[in-house]
């Protein structure tokens, strides 16, 4: 019988105890593997975010953000100036429009709460909310997909305090965000995810085609090829997109020129999305861009919400790593204690083996192998549990962090989610307003590679844990055998 066979046999001497040990080990190992899976998933997400939107800068009109509102609109000339800044790889202009259902707007107009038609927002955002920029309000045949009441009390800010004269606010749906874009990207610079139909083709040309958010299209019973109106002008649904958020999908995109024409403000931009060639050049380009456009004309921001989101993800990453190490340590400790107990229990047997000529290394090796048999069994069960539980555990970790992050980022951020009703009307409530959404889109799946790496770590720790009792066996003297005789 070989040392391995003997070790396997020893591991099953007491089946009840072996079962209990394997169960405890499996809990620790499954927790360790789940934490590793979460850690890897979050790390991958951080890398992806940095790679995809980490190089995007957003230019807004100076003073056109936050509670101050107002600001001079950006122009096509400023877009050309931005494009000329070194390391800038692309500049995409956007023109934000706000659409109100024509029937509802007429009813409100009749009630004297607010005039319909084209108007510019007043000071302080005019539309009564933080995050106000110069935004044009138009009428449409569409009905918003976000119903009144969805946002609770904040819904009442839709008309705002400065723009409202009525004592009682009628219940109504939220405005629809229409954004004119100069390329097939959303307001964060990410490529639009078109789920049906096609894009708009030449985004710099006038067009009567539009891209609708999936929920907006569903709410209005529209499909690719259907038509709707904006200010009595007919548009055709060329495609549907999924922004991944409710606000994002209560929106539509048209070409930049079309939006400017609708707003009767040719050459005017709400924002510019500037993409820098590399992540390393972002800081210097941001400074150069701010200098080129002038601090009194434009504000250049670097997606602070994204930084917060990434910071939160980093926090999850750190927590999961610490938990992984702690669970690994626990597994190692369990092995250590179990093996110490077994060594104490088998002192006499160890003495017999030494008396008949077994070298210390053979006995130590036998105990290490026995520990590894237990760990192998625990790993099989633990990996099975982790493959089912890791997603849930990772989600719980991420959601507990994202709720904190959302509470932090949602308030007072320029054009943030909280400022949506009176804000610039960008999808997702601002340049990086979907930060909390980014957190929840982390997919934690237990890939074989990660599980294998985790189990390798568990075995490493188990070997260390088993070495201590194995070394203890070397201190047992063979005379122990005869002590009891």
């Amino acid at each position: 019988m070989s040392v391995l066979a003997r070790s396997v046999g020893n591991a099953f001497r007491n089946k009840v105890r072996t079962g209990a040990v394997v169960a405890v080990l499996a809990v620790a190992i499954s927790l360790a593997l789940s934490m590793l899976v979460a850690n890897q998933a979050v790390a991958a997400k951080v890398t992806e975010l940095n790679a995809s939107v980490g190089t995007v800068l957003t230019v807004n009109p100076a003073g056109g953000q936050g509670f101050e509102g107002g600001g001079e609109p950006l122009t096509a000339e400023q877009a050309a100036t931005a494009a000329a800044v070194p390391n800038v790889s692309s500049v995409v202009g956007t023109k934000a429009l706000r659409l109100r259902n024509a029937t509802e707007a007429a009813a409100q107009s009749a009630a004297g709460t607010q005039g319909a038609g084209t108007q510019a927002a007043g000071p302080g955002g005019g539309q009564g909310g933080p995050g106000g920029q110069t935004t044009t309000t138009l009428t449409t045949s569409l009905t918003a997909a976000v119903d009144a009441g969805t946002l609770g009390g904040r819904n009442q800010a839709a008309e705002g305090t400065t723009g409202s004269t009525a004592a009682t606010q009628p219940v109504r749906s939220l405005p629809i965000t229409a954004t004119g874009i100069g390329a097939e990207v959303d307001s964060t610079g990410k490529a639009l995810e078109i789920t049906e139909g096609t894009g708009l083709g030449d985004y710099t040309a006038e067009s009567t085609n539009a891209l609708l958010g999936t929920t907006l299209a569903e709410k209005n019973g529209l499909k690719v090829g259907s038509t709707f109106t904006i200010n009595d002008k007919t548009y055709t649904v060329a495609g549907l997109f999924d922004a991944g958020t409710t606000f994002g999908n209560n929106a539509l995109y048209i070409t930049l020129s079309s939006a400017q024409t609708l707003a009767e403000l040719p050459g005017e931009l709400s924002t510019m999305i500037v993409t820098v060639d590399t992540l390393e050049n972002v800081d210097s380009t941001k400074t150069a861009l701010q200098s080129a456009l002038g601090t009194d004309k434009a504000d250049v921001t670097q997606g602070q919400n994204l930084e917060t989101a990434v910071s939160s993800l980093d926090s999850v990453k750190n927590i999961s790593f610490i938990a992984f190490v702690a669970a690994l340590g626990t597994a190692g400790l369990i092995i250590l204690l179990i093996m110490v107990m077994l060594v104490r229990e088998r002192r006499r047997e160890i003495g017999v083996l030494k008396a008949i000529g077994a070298p210390n290394r053979t006995i130590g090796f036998q105990f290490v192998l026995e520990a590894l048999v237990l760990v192998a069994l625990g790993s099989v069960v633990g990996a099975a549990v982790a493959s089912f539980a890791s997603g849930g555990i990772a989600s719980a970790l991420i959601s507990s962090n994202s709720s904190t992050t959302a509470a932090t980022t949602g308030r007072g951020m320029p054009g943030g989610a909280a400022g949506f009703p009176g804000g610039a009307g960008l999808p997702s409530g601002g340049p990086f307003g979907g930060a909390s959404q980014l957190l929840t889109t982390v997919t934690a799946s237990a890939s074989p590679g990660v599980i294998a790496a985790g189990i390798a770590a568990v075995f490493g720790v188990a070997i260390i844990g088993a070495l201590v009792p194995a070394l203890l066996t070397a201190r047992i003297r063979p005379i122990e055998v005869l002590r009891g005789e």
Binding site: M1, S2, R6, G9, N10, R13, R348, E349, V352, L353, K354, A355, I356, G357, A358, P359, N360, T362, R477, P478, I479, V481, L482, G484, E485
Partner: protein
């Protein structure tokens, strides 16, 4: 040849110092079958453990074929036990979750003998000690005391040691099997030039050995050999 020189082993028991082995000296030629008798607690097992390098003497030395055990490092002592010594313990000390044949194979595994060779030798030894072949693969804890004793003797013989130290080897055996074991030990010592030292209460076994020692209060006294006993009786 084994030379035991002024061997002393003391233990502390509270304030008292106990000397189970007190200045013991003797020599055994290779191939001798010897016995030590004495009352319980007289130090027989302690002496056996010193000869088998299981314990270290307080003073004195055991010299085996010119090599002093006192100066040997632990690694060498392990090698000495593996290669030169065969133990038969009073309580058998077999590994309970292994089969009879696996127990006998253990010392050979430690000596690096190939599996097929050690399996064949283990079976041969178990047949020599008259263990039923069907019990060769039975777990130790499913064998009777006598059967376990036979497996313990077979294990002691596994590596063909130069010295076999046996503590009450026939203590758990019936008369017939005991006789057979005595014949086996006698044959080993005389035909295979193996030195055998047996600790026993069994007078009949002691009387069949070449040399007999009595351990009294830690001191070893040699009793007249078989021939002398026979001569004295006849005179």
């Amino acid at each position: 040849m084994i030379e035991v020189k002024n061997l002393v082993r003391t233990f502390k028991s509270g304030d008292r110092t106990i000397k189970p082995v007190n200045d013991v000296s003797f020599e055994l030629e290779q191939g001798t079958l010897a016995s030590i008798v004495g009352k319980s607690g007289s130090g027989k097992s302690t002496l056996l453990s010193l000869l088998g390098a299981l314990d270290k003497p307080t003073s004195g030395d055991v010299v085996v074929n010119g090599v002093s055990l006192a100066s040997m490092p632990d690694g060498k002592l392990t090698e000495y036990r593996r290669r030169d010594i065969g133990f038969v313990f009073q309580q058998f000390n077999l590994i309970p979750n292994l089969s009879a044949v696996d127990n006998v194979m253990l010392p050979m595994e430690f000596a690096g003998i190939r599996k097929a060779a050690r399996l064949a030798r283990a079976k041969e030894l178990l047949e020599q000690v008259q263990l039923d072949p069907e019990k060769h693969v039975r777990r130790i804890n499913r064998l009777s005391g006598g059967e376990q004793q036979r497996v313990a003797i077979a294990r002691a013989l596994a590596n063909e040691p130069k010295l076999i130290l046996a503590d009450e080897p026939t203590g758990n055996l019936d008369e017939q099997t005991g006789e057979h074991i005595i014949e086996l030990l006698s044959s080993l010592s005389h035909d295979h030039n193996t030195t055998i030292l047996v600790v026993t209460h069994d007078r009949s076994l002691a009387n069949k050995t070449d040399r007999r020692f009595r351990l009294q209060q830690g001191r070893l006294v040699e009793e007249p050999a078989r021939a002398s006993v026979g001569a004295a009786a006849s005179s």
